[in-house]
């Protein structure tokens, strides 16, 4: 890589950082209640990206970042559980009511769709959020969750169908 294209790569990294910092933090916050742990996970992912061969990112840098964050968050969650014999609210970390954003949702009657969303199984919620909140394609969601694109399409359709049915009634 010559020096001029290296500068470009740096600008590119900065752009990626700007683009994904907040979405990744919000995403990871659904797994990790502890703010500092979530921050660590996202930081690690960006640091790892800096050292990553750009040609080995797979479908997209977004999918790559979400996948790295997810895997790392799940690792941290496992470790946290081992270290804390007292199972507190961590047991239901995904969709846990300790999540500030979700508490806000619960309090706000206007946010009915999100409230219904919270009643769905974790995996369905996650697919919906990756699709609608974060705008990933089926293939990218598949990358993140280790599923095929058609599998994602199937889960997403059924989750949204469930939402539609509950919202209509």
């Amino acid at each position: 890589m010559n020096s001029s294209s290296k500068i470009i790569a740096d600008k590119w990294l900065e752009g990626v950082f700007e683009q994904f910092e907040a979405p990744l933090l919000r995403y990871v916050a659904r797994f990790l209640v502890r703010h500092d742990l979530a921050q660590d996970v996202v930081q690690d992912a960006f640091v790892k990206l800096c050292h990553q061969d750009p040609d080995a990112l797979g479908t997209s840098v977004g999918a790559w970042l979400f996948r790295v964050c997810r895997n790392r968050a799940l690792d941290v969650l496992k470790k946290e559980r081992r270290m804390q014999p007292m199972p507190t609210h961590d047991d239901s970390a995904i969709g846990s009511a300790s999540d500030p954003a979700e508490i806000a949702e619960q309090c706000d009657a206007a946010r009915s769709a999100v409230r219904v969303l919270r009643t769905l199984p974790d995996r369905q919620q996650e697919v919906i959020r990756l699709k609608i909140e974060h705008g990933l394609s089926y293939r990218e969601i598949g990358d993140v969750l280790g599923l095929t694109a058609s599998n994602v399409g199937y889960i997403l359709h059924h989750s949204i169908k469930a939402l539609r049915e509950q919202l209509i009634t």
Binding site: K11, G15, A22, L57, G62, A113, G135, K161
Partner: protein, 724 residues
Amino acid sequence: MTFDPSDPRITAYVFGELSAEESVTFEQEMDELAELREAVESTRNVTEQLASELVGEGTPQLSDDRRAQVVQAQVEQANTEKSAVPPIVVGTSRWGWKTAVSFLTLTAAACLLIVTFVQHNKTSRMSGLADANSEDTTVSAGKVEMTDSTAVKEDSEIPESDEESTQVDKRVTSLASGPRPTAEGSPVVSGLSTPPLTTPRPIPAGGNAMYGRDSAIKAALGSVARKSRDGQFGLPNNANGQGEGEGPGMRGDQFDFIFENRFHRPLTSGKSTFSIDVDTASYSKVRMYLMQANSMPRPDAVRIEELVNYFAYAYDPPKGDTPFSSHLSVSDCPWQPTHRLVRVALQGRAIDDDRPASNLVFLIDVSGSMKSANKLSLLKAAMKMLAEQLGENDQVSMVVYAGAAGVVLPTTNGAETHEIVAALERLSAGGSTNGGQGIELAYQMALDSFIPGGVNRVLLCTDGDFNVGTTGTDQLVRLAAERAKNGVQLTVLGFGMGNHNDAMLEQISNRGNGNYAFIDTLNEARKVLVEQMHGTLVTIAKDVKIQVVFNPSTVTAYRLIGYENRVMRTEDFDDDNKDAGEIGAGHRVTALYEVIPTGAESPILSKLPEVDELKYQTRTATGTSDDLLTVYVRYKDPEAEKSKKLTFELHDEGQRFGDMDIDFRFASSVASFGMLLRGSEYAGDSSYDAVLEIASEASGPDKHGYRSEFLQMVEKAKELSDGQ
């Protein structure tokens, strides 16, 4: 053909995941099956509803140290690939991060100027993400340009590929407009990137128009130029007058831009209208910069009217039923001797010991950012002082918020001081901030224990760094404005420096029928919560607006000093629906105008626009009055919906500055100081020495030492600017 509700193509079609052929087939089926069309429609509706709800969930950010780590990794990586160049040391020194930030903001500046787009070899990697984002309609200009800028940088370095550019352009724009929350807090930009942005533009007048301006700027800057969040004072003392480190948004705190008021000719705009402001937050902020951080405040942190209004001036109190008295005076202007300086002052009625029963809700931010020594502990001490003032007619409740909001003290009688203090003692910081939710809960508490005819007030104590949930300024402001209609007022107490969102707190308190003070020291807490407790808690008049009409026979041009973000449109003066400032018991308001009298020589005259003649009417001064100006004041009684109007006239008797009362002279020195700090083009002959001379002669008895403290601040500013 039958309708299968489990057909995943329904959802895939809505998300554009079907191939071209599949779409054609699917649309043919839709033509034939009404149920299928309905299913698609309902899927689309649910998706849009979810998207709009999910988008408002805030823009969390990595903490300073973690961001620094990421930047370091980038720099290290760059250096390993350019091994001939010695590595730049980053990490321990904050300069490295700062450089990176400047680089970002430079990019931001560039992208605002250049809107062309060229093919980008890296965008293809991101483009996959872009395809699905079409549902989201909240396009933030900043985001689009951010992505553009990444590409623009490459313009000179990579040969264009025209045939691809259109396509990529579309993709990237759609990527950029993806479902990122528009709630940005207040985006900010460093001094480095301001030049292309501050092309002089007139200040759009009027309360609502102000929001328009703000949001336009925010949208333009978007997430591109972000705050550095480098809140502590780890930087070497960069007390330079104009250079880096002083642009709004550097080093963490967030301020709105201030476009300084200009001179106007009475012949073309004869009326000057503004909302009063008795807040003093900017003064404490400036003091904290100078005295604690040993650095010059950023120009946009300096709101001159808040500096001037910080001091207690001895205006005669009102007589009779009027909630305030007015005091007009004029002399020559110390920094521009051919000009006249006009003081318009209002003095609010004081109340003695018959303070109405008060229902106070302390809404306390206990998020992680409040941990630092100057915040939560100061907050506790301050609120304890207030609690000790309360009696059995009062009631207090306490709500805390961090990641979530909760009640930590149910409604408690004001006489139970120990219980209130104990609840304060128990507070500890940790977690993220969801200010929006806390405000909701606090207002609910206030309404639940509402005292009719009493003081019902939420006291929001925070560093204003809302980063979870309802983060958008507009949303919070709207919330506060809405609740103010129910008779619950708001006091915003800002604590700490570093990530203090001054702009947001000021707006919230303005719209929420409230006041805003910045508490930097225990002394300041005492001033706001003990000495001026009545003024802070008890509103004697609301929506107080001032309109000054200048006489073109005696005035060539005039300029309102300060009040930039309180300027209103002329027609808003008589519009009772337009919100304006409140005045508390014993509060006083001082506004200064610099006036060029007719016939006077002035360096400003050549800069004034000529009077453009109108086709169907003439623009000449008529009338025989030799008054200088007339002041109209509109206000509403605290519970009233209809405003009352007062009128005062001022005639220039040619008084000399040296003969004016000490308060007049002191206030003028404070304004002059503010203009120096702001680097104002209207500062004239001002200098820190001149300010010191006037202020020291006009300090009077200075019982609480506020004026001598001011002198120290001027000394410090002088010292810092000399070292330039």
